[in-house]
């Protein structure tokens, strides 16, 4: 057996690939579900916090800033491990999927809150004044005048950050979630052959390459023209 044959047999083994394809496919769908859960809850919570922060209630804002800085500073894997391995000691245990979801959603919430907040503060003060002078209330002004402009400005940085954090779904494999990486790792253990990892990498490319390209398109499409 030549080196080349050995290489092909290790990483592109057709028999192993066929055997573990269904598992990888299951992991593929699971990763998509996990990613969507993280994106929806993370962005909604981030926007919610930014809106609360706009009310400028000092103690509340200090709390928001503390929470946001906490989740921006902690490595996502540490949060996942704390939830999965730490919480049971406190009598509360969650499955790996829930832990990964909550941890990464919290990180996305923290980063997106900062981005949404930057967008809100970047809207000129005159916009608030014009709207308030016509009798619109604070929330009406935020909703109809400020947020539409702020969101438009935040779309490019938000897209990048969302992609970066969503790729962190691979961390879920550490807490026994059979996502793409989890399924691939299991395949390697059972077959004594790394081909499932090659398939896993391919699956991530299939999943995220379109998202990255979409992000690039969004970034140029929504670049704010004044």
């Amino acid at each position: 057996m030549t080196n080349w044959d050995r290489f092909v047999d290790s990483f592109f083994n057709a028999r192993v690939a066929a055997e573990y394809f269904p598992k990888i496919l299951e992991g593929f769908w699971l990763t998509i579900v996990l990613a969507l859960c993280i994106i929806v809850t993370g962005l909604v919570a981030g926007l919610g916090l930014a809106v609360v922060r706009a009310f400028a209630i000092r103690p509340l804002n200090l709390l928001i800033i503390f929470v946001v800085d906490l989740f921006r500073a902690l490595p996502p894997l540490v949060i996942i491990a704390l939830l999965y391995f730490g919480l049971p000691a406190a009598g509360l245990s969650m499955d790996g999927f829930t832990c990964a979801w909550l941890a990464l959603a919290a990180v996305l919430m923290a980063f997106s809150e900062e981005i949404f907040w930057a967008g809100i503060t970047a809207v000129p003060k005159g916009q608030w004044e014009a709207a308030r002078s016509t009798g619109l209330g604070f929330l009406q002004t935020l909703r109809h005048v400020v947020l539409p402009q702020a969101l438009r400005m935040t779309i490019p940085p938000l897209t990048n950050r969302t992609i970066a954090i969503t790729k962190g779904t691979a961390l879920a494999s550490v807490v026994a979630v059979p996502d793409i990486l989890g399924a691939a790792n299991a395949g390697v253990s059972f077959s004594f052959n790394p081909t499932p990892l090659t398939m896993g990498a391919a699956a991530y490319l299939v999943l995220f390459l379109p998202v990255v390209i979409l992000g690039r398109w969004i970034e140029t499409r929504f670049a704010w023209k004044r």
């Binding site: 000129p124 004044e129 009798g135 009406q140 005048v145 438009r152």
Partner: protein
């Protein structure tokens, strides 16, 4: 009948005493012009009238409503007070018609059809009915300011406040905005105008108020203030303006 009755208005920005007890009464259908050197507190006074700026002391009654009372619904009170800003402040993500109808729909709670009908009528009054579908970025500065005027008058306010409405405009665009203001005046709108357009003041104002250092130094008809100023500060200011 007095539409605006401001008495003893004080405003502090930190250690800075910007308004030092200003009294201003504006009667129905009157056009009052406020002039004065920059930093004299003209804009601050105007912004206190609809409480965009919170006065530190004094009382403000607009159309019978105590603007400073905690029991006053400020959003309701502001519907009766139109304001036009130096930098237009149109909503860039909405068309001209969208700018004009937002408050009609969200504050007056009109249906879309009725709001658009009133919005179109307001745009017609500033001669921009054919620009209803344009976004602010597609309009000239003068057109943007006229849309801003339409946005304010669509609510049928009892008084209009103009905060240096032509200062950000190229000279050739000033005329259209002044013309729109002149027409408002003809229709009987009560107006308070902070501006440096002295020719307009001489031609259209009922009363000119000269402010300096946070106080009203003197006031009177344009002929009195421009023709025969009583105070040294007024004379100096008008002399400087005339040299231009």
């Amino acid at each position: 009948m007095a539409i605006v009755e401001a008495t003893g208005i004080h405003k502090h920005f930190g250690a800075l005493h910007v308004l030092k007890g200003v009294d201003l009464v504006v009667h129905e259908k009157e056009l009052v012009f406020v002039i004065g050197p920059s930093g004299s507190g003209k804009s601050t006074l105007l912004r206190c009238l609809n409480r965009l700026e919170e006065p530190s002391g004094g009382s403000i009654i607009v159309d019978g409503v105590d603007m400073l009372s905690p029991r006053t619904d400020i959003n309701k009170a502001r519907q009766r007070i139109g304001m036009v800003f130096q930098s237009f402040n149109l909503y860039p993500h909405m068309t001209a018609l969208g700018n004009v109808t937002l408050a009609l729909r969200k504050v007056l709670k009109l249906g879309r059809a009725e709001a658009e009908e009133r919005g179109q009528a307001a745009l017609k009054r500033v001669h921009l009915e054919d620009r209803a579908d344009h976004f602010p970025g597609q309009l000239s500065g003068g057109q943007q300011q006229r849309v801003a005027i339409a946005r304010a008058i669509a609510l049928e306010p009892r008084v209009m406040l103009f905060d240096e409405p032509t200062s950000a405009l190229d000279p050739e665009l000033v005329g259209g905005v002044l013309e729109a203001m002149r027409e408002l005046r003809r229709d009987g709108m009560t107006m308070v105008v902070v501006s440096h357009e002295m020719a307009f003041a001489k031609a259209a104002a009922d009363r000119v108020v000269f402010m300096a250092d946070g106080m009203i130094v003197e006031q009177g008809t344009p002929a009195e203030v421009f023709g025969n100023p009583q105070h040294e500060r007024t004379r100096a200011f008008i002399g400087q303006i005339d040299r231009h």
